[in-house]
Amino acid sequence: LPVSPEAEDERKTLQLVESYLQNFYNLQKDQKPHLRTKGDNPIVEKLKEMQAFFGLQVTGKPDLDTLEIMKKSRCGVPDVGEYS
């Protein structure tokens, strides 16, 4: 069935969030991220870490302000942890 535009958008958003957090916040690649599940979901925790760093509202959700920052061109060095 053709993917509905909303589902396509959500997939792209998840992809953007996932790669940003993997590149700059040490989200492990093998974790199956889900934006919706409750509990200590690693992607939600990392999202909160990124939002705290940038002084955004720490919601754990990919809101507009968060996605706007994720779309900005930037340095490839992670914002947290070792880089060598």
């Binding site: 700059f24 940038f54 900005k72 061109s73 930037r74 340095c75 060095v77 060598s84």
Partner: protein, 365 residues
């Protein structure tokens, strides 16, 4: 600072440019590298010597996609560059994404700005969450000739290598905090229902319906505008904002800088003795614009496009104890004058000050 506090054991470091980008002249790349290194050598005891024929501490190169350092680039935009903390081998090296649109000005990505940031990593700095800092992760353009290393970055690098040997220690711009009680403004104007507070290279943007205040670089919206705007006012009827710096002014039409600007302020009718404007506001009910210079003010007729006769007059003669003015704007029939950390609400009908507040009263602190 980078976890583990890596730093170079020596202060006299070497660097080498391994290759160049076809998007810039080689001489411009070398100039950008030298200027980026001087950003850090100006504030520390560090020195950088160029070598061409052997391994250097800091190897600078343009790289494509997967370039075998376990951190592949991602094509145009996204990740622009990366660098490695001090150490042997790849330590200290800077890799720039070859596919970016590198430039020596505001087009694409300014090589000098990106290099200065990456060299911060090469020297042991990590990212700062101060949005005005050079070590902030996201790219933002500052004209190289206007660039001043922010205080946040000076503090960071001097924590690693100590101060420079200069007799007078360099200081840098500090990012304005909306609720800093000592915050003062260079210029303020309304803009289509919002209020824009100018401070150095920053603009605080306040929308009446939004609780938080947005902090941006002026260059984010208008790369051609210089920092340090000194006076602004909105002409609501013409949907224009005029911005003044020294003896020139620009016009914003809607949100875009109108072509053909800047123009000299003398076109508005100022005498040559006037070198800059301190503040301005437009009274939309009368079509008159008031320009404040030192302790005097002029009145300009927007319809006749000329200064009214009988001016300049003393500010104290008509606006009371306000005296000199840093910034001013009109909103909902009142004029708000700013001087230092004090704000005066002036009622032009009653011709008197009706309230006195802190300058930051608009930021819901």
């Amino acid at each position: 600072l980078t976890p583990g506090n890596p730093k170079w054991k020596r202060n006299d470091l070497t660097y080498r440019i391994l290759n160049y980008t076809p998007k810039m002249r080689q001489a411009d790349v070398e100039k950008a590298v030298q200027k980026a290194l001087s950003v850090w050598s100006n504030v520390t005891p560090l020195t950088f010597k160029k070598v061409d024929d052997r391994e250097a501490d800091i190897m600078i190169s343009f790289a494509y996609r997967d370039h075998k350092d376990n951190s592949p680039f991602d094509g145009p935009n996204g990740q622009l560059a990366h660098a490695f903390q001090p150490g042997e081998g790849i330590g200290g090296d800077v890799h720039l994404d070859e596919e970016e649109d590198w430039s020596k000005d505001g087009r694409g990505y300014n090589l000098f700005i990106v290099l200065a940031h990456e060299l911060g990593h090469s020297l042991g700095l990590s990212h700062s969450n101060d949005p005005g800092a050079l070590m902030y992760p996201s790219y933002s353009y500052t004209a190289p000739n206007e660039f001043l290393l922010p205080q946040d970055d000076i503090d960071g690098i001097q924590a690693i290598y100590g101060q420079s040997s200069a007799a007078v220690q360099p200081t840098g711009p500090v990012t304005p905090q909306p609720c800093d009680p000592n915050l003062t403004f260079d210029a303020i104007a309304t803009l289509r229902g919002e209020i824009m507070f100018f401070k150095g290279r920053y603009m605080l943007r306040k929308h009446p319906e939004r609780a938080e205040t947005e902090l941006n670089f002026v260059s984010l919206f208008w790369p051609k505008l210089p920092s340090g705007i000194q006076a602004t006012y909105e002409n609501i009827e013409r949907d224009e904002v005029l911005l003044f710096k020294e003896d020139k002014y620009w016009v914003l039409r809607g949100y875009d800088i109108a072509p053909g600007y800047p123009k000299p302020i003398y076109r508005l009718g100022f005498p040559k003795t006037v070198k800059r404007v301190n503040a301005a506001y437009n009274d939309e009910t009368t079509g008159k614009t008031y320009f404040f210079i030192a302790d005097r003010y002029w009145r300009y007729d927007e319809n006749k496009k000329s200064m009214d006769h009988g001016y300049p007059r003393k500010i104290v003669s008509d606006f009371g104890k306000i005296g000199r003015v840093d910034a001013a704007f009109q909103k909902d029939g009142y004029v708000y004058f700013f001087r230092g950390t004090t704000q005066f609400q002036f009622d032009p009908r009653a011709k008197r000050i009706v309230r006195q507040m802190k300058s930051i009263s608009w930021f819901n602190c």
